[in-house]
């Protein structure tokens, strides 16, 4: 059984993902993810020398289109689903950014 993942590692990942977790959640995830990581450890034994990593099937490469101006989502519609917005001014509203 692998060493238990310290809750500090869970906290670090949660911080990177901007996710507030309770103490209980951190403890629980530490236990559960220790088990999952222990299970996935098996891939270390696979010989992948010289194998190109596969990011997705049938890699078609970069798909481009001509840089033409086209209609996009109506601004009002885009703001319409937001929890807080100033539709007249055309902004999503958030708490202060500087000093956070």
């Amino acid at each position: 059984m692998p060493d238990r993942l310290p809750t500090s590692e869970i906290a670090r990942a949660a911080r990177l993902a901007r996710l507030t977790l309770t103490e209980d959640e951190q403890q629980q995830f530490a236990t559960q993810l220790t088990e999952v990581l222990g299970y996935v450890e098996q891939i270390q034994a696979v010989d992948t020398d010289g194998v190109q990593p596969m990011s997705h099937p049938h890699a078609a490469g970069l798909v481009e289109r001509a840089d033409d101006v086209r209609p996009s989502l109506d601004r009002d519609a885009a703001l319409g689903g937001a929890p807080e917005a100033d539709r007249e001014a055309g902004y999503f509203k958030v708490p202060r950014v500087l000093g956070s």
Binding site: E9, I10, R12, A13, A14, L16, A17, R18, L19, T20, L21, T22, E25, F29, Q32, L33, E35, V36, L37, Y39, V40, Q42, I43, Q44, V46, T48, V51, Q52, P53, M54, S55, H56, P57, H58, A60, V63, R65, L73, D74, A77, A78, G80, G81, A82, P83, E84, F92, V94, P95, R96, V97, G99, S100
Partner: protein, 482 residues
């Protein structure tokens, strides 16, 4: 009025035997009679559906469409303008997309009538629909059992005869596994064959939208309408949905069975699978063993790659542009963290944390990059196998439907349900579930056919041949009441 299949309904509407509005009313009344026992539906949009049905009746073009009047349901992670879509998550409660997915536009242009959305595991993360923030869906074959997941609501809605056709999404088996546990057809197309534009993304290199239906013909019809190149999806294959081609059938078909993998299923599932293979042999197919050397690593690499991609895709749910927002946050950072912490469910948070961890500095090479290398090996495995066989066959799920609550204590135990299905997502291959047997407890057992990349027509053809050979005459107990 019992639900006809999609083709049956379409023909009846086109010939004037029945109006789209009457078909819609019947479906809605089945829904209200049956769904309270199942919780298969999330949003029921009756007014919108009836208006749509009336529009079909009023338009000669729509009345003659390939899906004229066919009532359908969308998994709650597929956008339809104006319909509430939540990914079965509290973080999107009340959200109405300002646009429709490409598949929705195409289905509606073909005359289909959307009744509403179906319950799923939150953000498609799960194999039982127990991770929905709005309660689990019950398996119509036994109400104390899970319908599978993540497209459990769609599977239950079709199995119970509420609608002939429902859409799901499949990232690691989320169409095929619930189809298997609910005794219906569930098809995941080749990656890139059906547009992901308007699908709330879970893992962008694995997700595919596909149909759940009671017949292969209905599933194939849905794909022909929905599939084909979409310029709005950069991973869309640059070709139309393939024509059916001549019926090939099972005579001379080379079927490969990955023995070591297939042995991992429980006794009844293996017996059901062998029954299907025996029938195939009797019909002239050549059933042979194939070796998929890397298949045993499928679940491990899937839970590294899918969670990594999910951690990126779910970063957008931040309380700013859509959905719910945690109140009282003093700073932007707190807004993000508390909204996500409060409104995402446990499984979603667990996977985001895992995905972030495997991508983080110091771990990226050992986990994510290594998993991508093993993924290349898995894909190559399948490619080599398809030089010797035409299709690969294996079980869909290690067991028939398990009880609600049976596997929720241990995440890894739930993840292991995906052992037979993840391979097709990792390699981007077309794969279908077909029902083949009933367990001693009267629960459906399904099996899969997997084809080479872009071999969707071949898979559907073989599936149709199996369907004729092994007709599924078992009526789901709930649907039979109607």
């Amino acid at each position: 009025m019992k639900a006809g299949g999609a083709v049956e309904v379409r023909d009846a509407v086109a010939s004037g035997k029945v109006s789209a509005v009457d078909v819609c009313r019947d479906a809605l009344s089945r829904l209200s009679a049956i769904d309270p026992q199942l919780n298969a539906f999330r949003t029921i949009a009756a007014d919108r559906a009836l208006a749509r049905a009336a529009a079909v009746d009023a338009s000669e073009n729509l009345r003659n469409g390939p899906l004229a009047g066919v009532p359908i349901a969308l998994k709650d992670n597929i956008c339809a303008a104006g319909l509430e879509v939540t990914a079965s998550s509290r973080i999107l409660s009340g959200w109405r997309p300002p646009y429709s997915a490409t598949v929705v536009e195409r289905l509606e242009a073909a005359g289909a009538v959307i009744l509403g959305t179906t319950n799923c595991d939150e953000f498609a993360m799960g194999s039982s629909t127990e991770n929905s923030a709005f309660g689990p869906t019950r398996n119509p074959w036994a109400l104390d059992r899970a319908p599978g997941g993540s497209s459990g609501g769609s599977a239950a809605a079709v199995a119970a005869g509420i609608v002939p056709l429902a859409l799901g999404s499949d990232t690691g088996g989320s169409i095929r596994q619930p189809a298997g546990l609910c005794g219906i057809v569930g098809f995941k197309p080749t990656f890139g064959r059906v547009s992901r534009f308007g699908l709330l993304a879970f893992a962008s290199s694995l997700d595919q939208i596909g149909p759940l239906a009671r017949t292969v013909e209905d599933a194939a019809l849905a794909c022909a309408v929905m599939g084909g190149h979409d310029p709005r999806d950069a991973t869309s294959l640059n070709e139309p949905w393939p024509d059916r081609g001549p019926r090939v059938g099972l005579q001379g078909l080379r079927i490969g069975v990955p023995r070591t993998l297939a042995d991992g299923a429980d006794d009844q599932v293996r017996q059901g699978f062998e029954r299907a293979m025996d029938a195939a042999r009797a019909a002239g197919a050549h059933v042979q063993d194939v070796e998929l050397r890397y298949a045993s690593h499928g679940v491990a690499i899937y839970y590294i790659i899918a969670t990594a991609e999910a951690s990126a895709n779910l970063a957008r749910y931040d309380g700013v542009r859509f959905g719910t927002r945690a109140g009282g946050a003093a700073t932007l950072d707190e807004l993000y963290s508390r909204t996500r912490g409060d409104y995402f469910g446990a499984e979603v948070k667990r996977r985001i944390v895992l995905g972030t961890y495997v991508l983080s500095a110091g771990y990226y090479d050992a986990y994510y990059r290594k998993a991508q290398q093993v993924r290349a090996c898995v894909a190559r495995d399948y490619g080599e196998a398809f030089e010797r066989v035409d299709v690969i066959a294996c079980p869909t799920s290690p067991s028939p439907a398990f009880r609600l609550g049976e596997k929720t204590a241990d995440p890894l135990q739930m993840y292991l349900n995906d052992v037979f299905t993840v391979g097709a997502n990792l390699a981007g291959l077309p794969a279908i579930n077909l029902p083949c047997a009933l367990s001693a407890e009267g629960l459906p057992i399904g099996f899969q056919l997997i084809g080479p990349a872009r071999g969707d027509a071949r898979v559907l053809d073989a599936a149709a041949a199996f369907e004729e050979l092994l007709p599924w005459t078992h009526g789901c107990p709930i649907g039979a009441q109607q």
